[in-house]
Assembly symmetry: C2
């Protein structure tokens, strides 16, 4: 693979470490109080008898150094890509060499199934070096297998014992870290000495709480999307004739949409959590956007930039109900059979008759292209795949219809020409921002130390991130303390609660305060491409939503 000059320069960058993590041989822990869980502590303590209620561990420095000793560690990427992952591995490698020069690091291939199937590569200096400060998870691939069944758990244990692993580092989001806790518990119960440590990864930003300030990958993804949004805003402002509907990846929560809005000052941004709280209907959202466009048209501004979070639809109560009604209907054999021979129009008519009367109006509102997606894009269980619905097209078409009506009535006199965009994969594998690169390096370093000290079922936590890197602090928190029970597929399961946008938080409040201005004025803020060299105010920025909190 040919390296670009930029890649070469980045590879040779020196990772900065917080003072506290610089020399792991002089690092120690201070134990905090015993912990509980977010909720359901009784059930959770019985599900995790070995690992529940452990204390938070705060990193402190010690005067005398500790023994060196080689470590054997396995590491795996789990779930969707996020920028900085390779730096976690590089840091693990470097830290393990500091702890014991004979240490060995193994990378499991293509996600957790690599653990189950004992597929791995040994990671040497020659192998890791070209991946330093680089995006992607391609060093060893990633995957979405969950280690859940007794057989999978047992096979994973066998793998760890075969390799005599002191530790297993799972780089993942909420589900993967839940999996890390399950593995830690299983290993302890079965006298396997491999410690399991989680690393908080996800571009979506929904793995955060009072301890985890942000997950890695979020900063980079938002910077990449904001670069594109800024470019589009500047185009809108120059051409003065397009309304841009921009959908942003981020699963359920609207953290990415919020952060990108704070960075780029669009004319409107929808925040799913707010829409849910206000119990808005699709028709109300449509009217609100049409009002914005009309208002701007009256100021002779026939252009706008509108940000839309990927998960929107599930937060619109009537749409959520409609989708579960459709799932319910289509799950019925009789309905399914009757629909088989129908073409799209007939299917729509047929379902229109079947849908509950209070959902009929929502159903009839939907543009045909979206109906088609609702009826065709189904997962193996027959459920509508909400993430496959082109929400930006849905809104674009509904706003278009609304404005046509208003034009007929004479209440809209402007021009409306819309362009859709959808950003997702573009932001997951970018070269990491300086923030993510250093954050990941610290997380990997900390993980190595946690394994050296035989901690298991913990998630590595680097915090105080608003300060300069040197002043960042480190701790470890038991994964179980982030959990509660949720019903999934009719079963109660331990899960790490996804963080949604806090409507009382400073970041959202700031948006609320500013958005009236952003709607009217062209206050677009132009992010430009991420910079890796030059003055620190350009290279070392952190998420605005983190800064405001």
């Amino acid at each position: 693979m040919e390296l670009t000059h930029l890649q070469e320069k980045r590879i040779r960058c020196e990772a900065i470490l917080p003072y506290i993590l610089k020399d792991l041989l002089y690092l120690d822990f201070k134990e905090g109080e015993k912990t509980s869980s977010l909720a359901d502590s009784e059930e959770l303590s019985s599900l995790f008898p070995q690992t529940f209620s452990r204390p938070i561990l705060k990193c402190i420095s010690r005067k005398t150094d500790q023994n060196q000793g080689a470590l054997r560690v396995g590491v795996v990427f789990s779930g969707g890509q996020a920028s900085g992952g390779h730096n976690v591995i590089a840091a693990l490698f470097d830290a393990m060499k500091q702890i014991g020069s004979e240490s060995s690091l193994f990378g499991f291939l293509n996600g957790p199934k690599g653990i189950v199937e004992n597929q791995y590569m040994e990671i040497t200096e020659e192998i890791i070096d070209p991946y330093r400060f680089q995006g992607g998870f391609d060093l060893m691939g990633s995957g979405r297998t969950k280690i859940e069944t007794e057989e999978q758990l047992q096979k994973s244990l066998t793998t760890c014992e075969k390799l005599s692993l002191d530790g297993l580092v799972i780089i993942g989001g909420d589900d993967s870290n839940t999996n890390a806790a399950v593995l830690a518990e299983f290993f302890l119960k079965n006298d396997c000495e491999t410690c399991v440590i989680g690393i908080p990864k996800t571009i979506d930003g929904d793995l955060k709480n009072e301890h985890i300030e942000v997950s890695f990958g979020f900063d980079t993804a938002c910077k990449v999307y904001s670069e594109m949004i800024s470019n589009i805003s500047r185009d809108a402002l120059s051409a003065k004739k397009y309304t841009h509907f921009i959908k942003l990846m981020g699963r359920s929560a609207s953290h990415i949409a919020l952060e990108c809005a704070l960075k780029t000052h669009p004319n409107a941004v929808l925040i799913s959590e707010e829409i849910l709280e206000k119990k808005m209907t699709l028709s109300q959202i449509t009217k609100q956007l049409a009002d914005l466009i009309s208002m701007r048209a009256s100021m002779d501004k026939n252009y706008s930039v509108i940000l839309i979070p990927e998960g929107l639809i599930e937060f619109i109560p009537e749409m959520k109900d409609l989708i579960s009604e459709l799932n319910h209907l289509i799950a019925q054999d009789s309905v399914n059979k009757e629909m088989e021979s129908l073409d799209l129009d007939e299917k729509i008519d047929f379902l229109n008759q079947k849908v509950k009367s209070d959902l009929k109006s929502a159903f009839q509102l939907l543009p045909k292209a979206i109906m088609e997606q609702l009826l065709l894009e189904r997962d193996p269980h027959g459920n509508v795949q909400v993430s496959k619905i082109d929400t930006e097209i849905l809104l674009l078409k509904m706003v278009e219809e609304e404005l046509k009506e208003r034009k007929k009535e004479g209440s809209f006199k402007g021009k409306f020409s819309a362009v859709r965009h959808s950003f997702g994969y573009e932001g997951r594998c970018s070269m990491p921002s300086s923030f993510d690169a250093h954050y990941c390096y610290s997380l990997g370093y900390l993980a190595a130390f946690l394994i050296k000290r035989k901690m298991t079922g913990y998630i590595a936590c680097v915090y105080n991130l608003k300060d300069i890197v040197q002043n960042w602090k480190a701790k470890a928190i038991p994964i179980t303390m982030l959990m509660n029970l949720e019903t999934r597929e009719a079963k109660k399961k331990p899960v790490i609660k996804k963080a949604l946008v806090d409507l009382k938080g400073n970041a959202f409040s700031h948006l609320q305060k500013m958005r009236v201005t952003w709607a009217k004025e062209d206050a677009y803020r132009f992010e430009g491409p991420m910079q890796f060299f030059g003055p620190s105010e350009i290279t070392d920025t952190i998420p605005i939503s983190l800064l405001l909190e």
Copy 2:
């Protein structure tokens, strides 16, 4: 408008000038031979009696300085946005102050209609400064009005005379520069002293020839698209499960697709010019892509990255014929009337009967979603708008069908999961690359000098661009020498010939040589975000296709 730190730093950047342009008071011209046109010289010389056949002017330095003298100049953005436009204006401003401290610069608002309607702003130092090194055309907006009718020409002349302009600088692509030539001729014929100078702008890269090495904006757009393509490639390589179909803006020619391929090494890139030369059918293209995916699947690589130029469809002979047949059919009142009451399926059936027999198979191949676009997206003349057809969806769906067939037959055993992307507006208004920023600054500087020397109907030309900026050279070429006659809307019109990708050129040859490797191996090259600071091998790159030529 809030400036980001990056904007502030860029605003304060020093523009580098070629040695030859540093002091306009010591600059001179050497006249070359008289010129002709690309073709149709007789007709063109009668259309442009005043300006035809003028010599190329090569910039040289002179020993003694020339007189200073204030200039009054108007400038206009014409057509689609391209990065660097604001630096043309900044350079014009700076150069005019060097030529005469009392000089005045006027920006016409929202494109050429600002000239016709005498809508302008005076550009002062305070106004231009925040736009230095910034993307977009938002300082004064752009537009697509063509100054063609006698009335428009006369009004433009009146504006220039009212403002007592020494010069009018038109920043535009092929059509806008044709317009510049028409204006120059008209002004001379009517004793108006305003000189008209063109600046070669377009991200599409199709305004180039033996004199113009590249148009401005092309470099930046390709860098922005390549950043995104690289991110997607790295995601493909990490997730190992998606085939990405990426459509790239660029109108008819495939320069952008070619340049982005040379930068990012995708598994496949379609070059429209090659498809035309080989007279490929849609079905052949589909099979070729399906073969690629099958071949990679047999290597256990169920992922690919495929680049598609925006203008593809018009270069597939059968599609071109089909579209003109549909245009012809629908233009008939009887057909139109019969279709009015039909729904989409019925329309398709109806047209299927009407279409010429040799085009039926092409018509029947098209997925319904594309049929819908062909039948619905029509311009005011009733013609299909080819640019609105989602070519990446067309190919995605056709390849999907083809692979389904092969799966049934047993000849395809891999997995196929496709994601579409379309990049366009993202790349037109980015902060300009260092190359575009300096190139534009040189072009603006040169334009001011051309006006000082009362040259008209010329296009500013900065060349030797492979060398460091200081060694770039400058000249001016008569716009008429780039022209031939083309039939547009049944009339012969003077136009600047659009440059298509040269299938015998070094850039395409290099692609041909490499693409077999890129198809099989994951030779993806990761561009990363554009860098403005740091070592010159990172910041000062020029288009690879330019480097190879």
